[in-house]
Amino acid sequence: MNGTAPQSLLYLDGVTVSFEGFRALNKLSLVVEAGEMRAIIGPNGAGKTTMMDVVTGKTRPDQGDVLFGGDIDLTKLDETEIARLGIGRKFQKPTVFENHTVIDNLTLALAGDRRARAAAFWHEDAEESARLDEILGIVRLGEHRDRLAGRLSHGQKQWLEIGMLLAQEPRLLLVDEPAAGMTDAETKQTAELLRQINRDRTVIVVEHDMSFVRELGVRVTVLHEGSVLAEGSLDQVSADERVIEVYLGR
């Protein structure tokens, strides 16, 4: 549009969202390049989840531009259309289909024809079967393929949801607090998993847990009261006085 970031995968400019007078996002501007992994941190109410809602079409911004791939205006599209463009989302609370088996969860997420008629007559082919097995391996749920997702542990559900994201073959993954409620070992494995995914996909991680962000070792954006407060490496932003004030000052 205006040439500031034509090739950026995700481009937010001056995005404002108000809920009954409360500004959840206040002229938020953010650019994420293709192939990047970005961590977004900030205290509660900083607008992290609202930012994801805007990108995935759940919330329409009052003002501002949200562009994907340089020229696609996401504010005009709904959740389904945005998902089909290749933006996947993992929720803060692990959201898997608890009454379906692990493999059925992945099958539902697997990229392919999403139309109702196609679903009724769908049969798994060898290629899809191989892809599902590969994803099961990546998220370490091979032994649990025929278990109901509702019977998995919390950490396993988180991984299943990441696996579902992978199966969608998105260009951009939005991952909301992937390490929440995980043990230290699981947190380490999750960081490893995200780095692995980032080899061929762009990832945005929203996280509370600083040690996890350190583990990822990526560029960090700090949100505060709906705008960007600071951006840089974790060491840079944690040395920033305003960031210290926001996190420690109250």
């Binding site: 995935t56 759940k58 709904d78 959740e79 389904t80 998902a83 089909r84 996947g88 989302r89 929720f91 959201t95 898997v96 289909f97 608890e98 009454n99 379906h100 088996t101 493999i103 059925d104 099958t107 539902l108 997420a109 999403r114 139309r115 109702a116 679903a119 009724a120 007559f121 769908w122 049969h123 798994e124 025929d146 278990r147 109901l148 579902m164 969608q168």
Partner: protein
Amino acid sequence: MRQPYTMRMLDGRGWIFLVVLAAIAVVVPVLNFALPPSSPFYLQNHWVPLFGKYLCFALLAVAVDLVWGYCGILSLGHGAFFALGGYAMGMYMMRQIGTRGVYAHPILPDFMVFLNWPELPFYWYGFNWFPYAVLMVLLVPGVLAFVFGWFAFRSRVTGVYLSIITQALTFALMLGFFRNNFGFGGNNGLTDFKDILGFNVQAQSTRAVLFVLSALALALSFLLCQWLVKSKFGKVLVAIRDEEPRVRFLGYRVENYKLAAFVLSACLAGIAGALYVPQVGIINPSEFSPANSIEIVVWVAVGGRGTLVGAALGAVVVNYAKTYFTTGLLAPYWLFALGGLFVLVTLLLPKGIVGTISDWIAREKPMNGAVANGGAAEPAPKPAE
């Protein structure tokens, strides 16, 4: 390796259901026809259409279970689709009466002569032709469901709000059909049928054929629904029931899936109504009453939501109980019994008869068996919706 979907389509429960249904379809007419009335196993004539009626209700319950049990759409207006299918068939049979009516008018049904109507309203055209009537049995409920669902699902009306507007839908239709100038016989509805495709509707042989056709329609509809819920389409439905927003973020057009299931369900309800009317001999606007539609949901809940077989079983069990209770001394207490049944099932058997039995069987099995056979994938709806 996983078996192909077609192999996994019918589980043990499904086979038992089909075998029992086939047996009933054979045994009931045989006991009625082949045995002399003096035999202790002789089935009296009135039982055949009564059992036929139960089978139509079972089909209606399967239709409701498809949308409620699998997709979480609590329709409290399915009685409307059932009644519309019934009216379409009733209109065909009205046109077949011809000069045998009280007023002996060659074209106009009695009630139109009585109301001094000069000619047949345009929407009665074509109903003298059976294939057209059958088409309307499917088309009228289907189109209504499509238009209603298109607006409701696109506007993301869900849960109790959707249930309320489905009640409003059937209530509005009831008020309309009660009016004489609506053109469907007002509060008397359509009755005094003489024959269907040339066969006397009162004849015991016609009733037996209608009974077998009802069993066949139930079996085929069950197979269709079973195939659908075991397909990926069905898995998307269950996913919508449990986590609708998540399904959208996966890129599925949720409203299209809901609409497809809702329209199919309405068409099945229409078929049930069309088979019901010739067997009971009357269709009137009380079939649209909101309470009727709520009763269907009770059948499904009693039998076991989200199991298809349970819905059919629940319809038969509750309606048999209704027949039993509403004849004789216990007649005044039927509504209390129905209400009590619903409360008891909700409190003590939240998964219904079939769901509870499945749980027992699953518990009896060794743990590894339950995991390996994928039977653990039983979709268990949340109790409250």
